[in-house]
């Protein structure tokens, strides 16, 4: 049977706001966010769990929303890129650093990378280059070669962070 018609109504928190969504068992979190909640900042680059473009935070941990069924998120808290900006739409320090260092080009991979780095910087405010590269290694960026986005993260980490020659 390829179609499922049963639906479930579930409650979850998205970017701090309680939301109720009605979904099929097979509906992926990425699709719920993008289609039902119109949070289109979360992107789909592969839909098979490799590229990291769809990364959001679930209860504070990076997770691939293309691999998560929405029904599994009852009562959980989801954060997406739309939650990062500061009041008045100003960029937060990580976002600002991405702009300063030209850490993005087409911007398609960027929301996922920002979410992974957000999780890292919350746990470890001063990661070194190795930690930053490890944290974003689950993301594919075809545009930048990563160097400028790694520099962006390092600048937030610590102005004196060691940059390997």
């Amino acid at each position: 049977m390829t179609t499922s018609t049963t639906t479930h109504t579930i409650d979850l928190t998205v970017n701090g706001i309680p939301r109720q969504v009605t979904v099929e068992p097979r509906t992926l979190l990425a699709d719920t966010l993008r289609t039902q909640l119109r949070l289109t900042g979360t992107h789909l680059g592969c839909e098979h769990g490799v590229c990291g473009a769809c990364t959001v935070l679930v209860d504070g941990e990076p997770a691939r929303s293309c691999l998560l069924f929405t029904v599994s998120l009852v009562g959980r808290s989801v954060e997406t890129v739309e939650s990062l900006e500061e009041p008045g739409g100003r960029l937060n320090p990580l976002q600002q650093s991405f702009q300063d260092h030209h850490g993005l080009q087409c911007g398609f991979c960027t929301p996922g990378i920002l979410m992974s780095l957000t999780a890292l910087l919350r746990d470890e405010p001063h990661p070194d280059e190795g930690r930053v590269r490890d944290q974003v290694q689950g993301h594919i960026c075809r545009c930048t070669g990563y160097q400028q986005l790694v520099d962006a993260a390092l600048a937030v980490s610590d102005e004196d962070a060691e940059v390997a020659p």
């Binding site: 119109r38 789909l44 702009q99 087409c106 911007g107 974003v136 594919i140 960026c141 930048t144 070669g145």
Partner: protein
Amino acid sequence: MIGQSTKRREDLRLLRGRGQYVDDLDLPGVASMAVVRSTQPHARILGIDTAEAAAAPGVVGVFTAADLAEINQPWPVHLSNAALRPNEQRTLPVDKVRYVGELVAVVVAETRYQAEDACELVAVDYEPLPGSGHLSVSRDLPVPIHEDLGDNVAAHAVQTTGDVDAALAGAPRVLRETFSINRGGGHSMEGRAVAARYDRALGQFLVWDATQVPHQARALMAELYGVPQDRVRVIAPPDVGGGFGPKAGKYPEEILVPWLAKLLDRPVKFVEDRYEHFVSCTQEHLQLHRVEVAYDDDGMLLGLRDVFEHDTGAYASSLIVPLIAGTTVPGPYRIPALHIEFTSWFTNKVPSSAVRGAGRPQGVFVMERVMDRIADDLGLDPAEVRARNLIPADAFPYPVGLTFRDGSPLTYDSGNYPGLLEKGMAEIDYAGQRERQAQRRREGALRGIGVSVAVEGVGLGPFEGATVRMESTGRVTVVLGAPPQGQGFETTYAQICADALGVDQDTVDVVTGDTGTIAYGVGTFASRVMATAGPATAAGAREVRDKLFRSVAAVLEASPEDLEIRDGAVAVRGTDVAMPLAQAARMSNVGAPGVTMPAGTVAGLTATAYFNPASAGYSSSVQICVVEVDAETGEVEIVDWVVGHDCGTVINPLLVEGQVLGGVAHGLSNALYEESLYTDEGVPVTTSFLDYPIPSARELPRIRLYDQQTPSPLNPLGVKGAGEAGTLGVPAVIVSAVEDALRPHGVRIDTCPLSPGLLGDLISDAQTDAQNEARTEARTDTAATAGI
């Protein structure tokens, strides 16, 4: 302003998740199109049964060639070339499929989930034919892929200059080598995407298309629909998630979505997923080069013959890639006699077309392998052999003697290749690196140093245009035909316009890629936009400035020469007499209805300029890379890497650095990681990122950039192109470095990409050979002592 590392304004929306990519557009009532794709490399279509799919939940319609005959005529040839044999392509194949992934039928449904479900219910009855997954198989395929052609040759072309036969016959030294290089897909992180609605009031198709070439897409749609071009408006949204070449192609889905939107009277969209990108988005395939090189005892080149085969996939709409590959071979070197010849083969693979580099990485790879082999043969340093053969800085314009893919003579406009190489050698401390290499070798490490020098045809014609307008708000609008896919056009063209017009760049807005806003355009590809749209923008801005000054001068009773733009107003220099820009614009653009304009004022503060360069320009790059190879695992570790690039005048250094770094990453991925693999019959075996790795931040090393700016004489800004620059020298420099590292093992590398598996095999083969040799020698020695 020009030359300033202005931060990108695009980032403010992209970083906040507020980009508007095609799949993000809010189109009420939109239905999703999903595609039934061929599962066969080569087969006749005997029948398609859509009944079950049509009855599936949510399905709005199922369409095959039989249902859409009205728009299913053969596509016009994209770029005709006498050497290219006509091969018919239609939106929907009528009688046979020619590659796995070819579009066979489509389903439109309420949701994408439902559309994909229903695709599985479409039953296609195939009669399989033998298929070809390699150009060598195509030679003898019993049923040709395009049967009317009689065989699988797509094109054959030869270009020569000088007498290569004589050079080869008379040269002190001749090398004969065979090199193969396979590249892969574009893999923009956003796949292809197109959405459309039909506006009945306007009688117009409104199409949002993540394309690099909106005006070309409009032309094809209008032709196939049989409507005038202004009945189709194609908008490449400002946010497109990367292009890299494949999005400059034309695809059946682009034709179907707008047409179905009209037929179904509701918006329709198609968004390619990654599997579809692997099997249905154009990519580059194998090239096999057989090279003969004549040179003297000092390593000076006397002549070169390169006869190569190119895999073009199932259809060929142009010869772009092999033409560029062949004409890139001579590169930065003086070669008195050249013979470049290629045969392009149809195979049962997704059609081949340009991917960042578009044949250039292949050409550079071939020439740079040759330079390394000459160095090896003569016991010279590889950098020295290159330096000896470089075209001197005072030899420009330099005619190579061939014709480039733009149809104009392959004549390098400007450059300083020796300067760029010397700078790179100083940057990496080449002599010091050779000493450290010797030291590391003594310690048992396999360390190598590679060098590559490349010349890159950029800024291709025919033209690009820009409209510049002073708005009644006092802000300025620049309208470009060419769309960005991450390059930052909104920022760089504001810089160019502000510079020429004399206003603050923050008051300039840039609109791109909408056929409804500028009549003509060609598109974003071949590192061409800066050298065409850049000068057009500057010319438009200067014309608006001229009109503005004449107009304001008339009212202020001043001379235009005495005016300047200051604080958002046109002011008389040295006085506080001024007219705000907004007022000047209202005067010229709105006026008072029915009232004559003041004498001397100009109506319409707007100008549209097109720029058509006399020929392509030529950027250049040097890469020097130090690697260490792990003999056990075949892993390549990058120790240091400098990349120097000369793209003429630089508008925004920060953004050019980004282009070069991203290009290098793509090149490294081509050199060591990604490779599209097919069975001999043409079944693709790499169809997800699980079996087709693209390097992450863990694999990508830190790259050191340096630059040199040799302005181009071909346009008033002196600009060239930078988009592909980083990529083209990378396969060459990595293989050069790895071969150098493995020199103690006597390993020769003639092929790229170099997977760890392949490298491991090369090393163990070399070790086995060495052991066998040692054993043979030992036996001979024993035999000798035994007196045999």
